[in-house]
């Protein structure tokens, strides 16, 4: 069976926006079977199968090649797939799901404005406190790459799967790497973004797997869907 498998976010704003952009492109996605199920179809496109998955699973399945196409955030692609450019290609920026991945420190660290300041503050912290400065995040890989590029080495990441912004205030971390869309939560938790601390400006992307087994039919279908979505995003062009 040569079918194109498309991964679509299974809940929330991300799912609604995804279904909306597909609909605008003339690709109506409907659930098949039970309304609470996780399988779907594209009306009039029998060779495509839709799977409703969490955004993180979509990134993972694109990496392994279990699905051909998917909609997910660039932050998850960069975080979860070490050699992302070899495993997947980001075909279209979809214009929703905007979120920046940022480095934030306590606002009271008046001496720390840049990553270079953080490097020095981290080294001094380790010498003063006998252990490394902790950075709470659910993005350890993005953090490591960005910190290494800025020469920050005296720190350790601590895993944080929710309410990351609160970690410094409750003494679980000194700094954080997290997504932020408004910045209001940061301020409420006494945190501030470093002036050169934007790791990634992320949004939802249409992503193709380079590792999925691709027949001629799926390849053409994949190109058609991409083209239709592209036209829906930029009607004039």
């Amino acid at each position: 069976m040569d079918r194109l498998i498309v991964g679509v976010p299974s809940k929330g704003r991300l799912m609604e926006d995804t279904l909306e952009i597909f609909r605008a492109a003339g690709l109506v996605i409907e659930k098949t079977g039970d309304e609470r199920g996780y399988r779907g179809a594209m009306v009039g496109v029998p060779d495509a199968a839709v799977e409703f998955l969490s955004a993180g699973e979509i990134a993972r399945h694109l990496q392994s090649g279990r699905i051909h196409l998917g909609v997910t955030g660039e932050d998850l692609i960069r975080e979860q797939i070490p050699d992302a450019d070899e495993r997947v290609s980001c075909l279209l920026k979809l214009g929703f799901g905007h979120a920046n991945v940022i480095v934030a420190v306590p606002d009271c660290w008046l001496d720390v404005e840049t990553m270079a300041d953080l490097e020095e503050a981290g080294a001094l912290f380790a010498a003063e406190h006998g252990r490394r400065m902790r950075v709470a995040t659910k993005y350890p890989n993005l953090t490591r790459r960005f910190f290494a590029a800025h020469g920050v080495v005296q720190y350790r990441t601590v895993e944080s799967l929710g309410a990351t912004e609160g970690a410094p205030a409750v003494g679980m971390a000194e700094a954080i790497v997290d997504i932020t869309s408004t910045g209001a939560t940061l301020k409420a938790n006494g945190l501030r973004i470093l002036s050169d601390g934007i790791i990634l400006r992320s949004e939802a992307n249409l992503v193709a797997s380079k590792t999925a087994i691709q027949g001629a039919k799926t390849a053409i279908l994949c190109a058609t869907i991409t083209e239709k979505l592209g036209a829906a995003l930029h009607p004039s062009g």
Binding site: P106, L110, D111, P140, R144, F147, G151, Y155, E174
Partner: protein, 374 residues
Amino acid sequence: MTAEGAKEYEALEAQASSLITLFTSKGYEHVAPSFIQPASLFLDRIGETLRARTYVFTDPNGEELCLRPDLTIPVCRVFLERGAPEGVAKFCYNGPAFRVQERPDPLSPREFRQAGIEYFGSGSHDADLEVLALTIQAVRESGVKSFTARVGYLGLFKALLGGLNIPPRWRERLERSFWRHAGFSRELATLAHAKVNAPPMPADALTERGFLNRLDANGIPLVGLRRPSEIVQRLQDKAADAKEPPLAPEIVRLIENYLRTRGDVPTALRSLEALARQANLDLGDALEDARALFYGLKALAGTAPIVFEADFGRHFEYYTGMVFQIEIDGAGVAGQIAGGGRYDGLILALSHGMHDVPAVGAALHTERLLAATT
């Protein structure tokens, strides 16, 4: 190793047993630390780069554990569990270590063996040279005929910075960035152009009282473990930096020339002495100390080709003194069969400041060693 054939397994075992025989004959006690280690100890010490490559897991009791990515820290723990006895202690080991690999291949397997030695309790160059000599002997007795030992000495770099007219904080910045080639050049360029000079804060935050008032006035809460005194100290330092002139061009040139020094032992020593003389630099005892190391190296160079490289020793964050790597010429990563160096701060850190014990050690990559000799 994905799946070793019985023949290869036997060969590795035979090689390991002759390495251990050699090490024990030289007075190194054979120890076998646990494969599974407490994660926090490693995570606090090893840095995020190696951490990203460490298999960390939580067992059903909720304990955070890891598969040892390296044997040095586990052997240090053996030493500490014995109460860090006075005098010297010498250990040798052989066994598997585990690292996450983006793409495992025979040269960088997830599971590999390490054999090595650790020498605790002596900060002398005699100990440095003993460890280097024994590693060279182990490589040679394993059947490798043609190799080079690259040697660096971090003590000399620190002494050089210490002898130059540089503000202490800038010296620390340069020492810290020594580990990163690109970062170091960038740091040196920054200091040479005095880009450090943007005054960070108005003068009113440069005292603890002023700092706290400022937070109060702006509704900024005190968050995190850094104390106001630490923050104010750094604000004062930044303000002082702003008044410093940039690094003099001749100092920048001297540092760059030093880092370019390389060659066989007599040549390297001559270049270093010439460098110090031309710059009219008083390195104090440091040059004497370096000479002692170099004379020892010269004696060793009769048994193996040794190349000194002033900038060698980068990428090994916890080393503090002499560092070395033994390489089969022209074989790339596969040819890096052994390496080691002095790591005087590690026992102090692992014992939370209880035991300040100098240490030097070396490890052999046994799969590569076997591949090079069969």
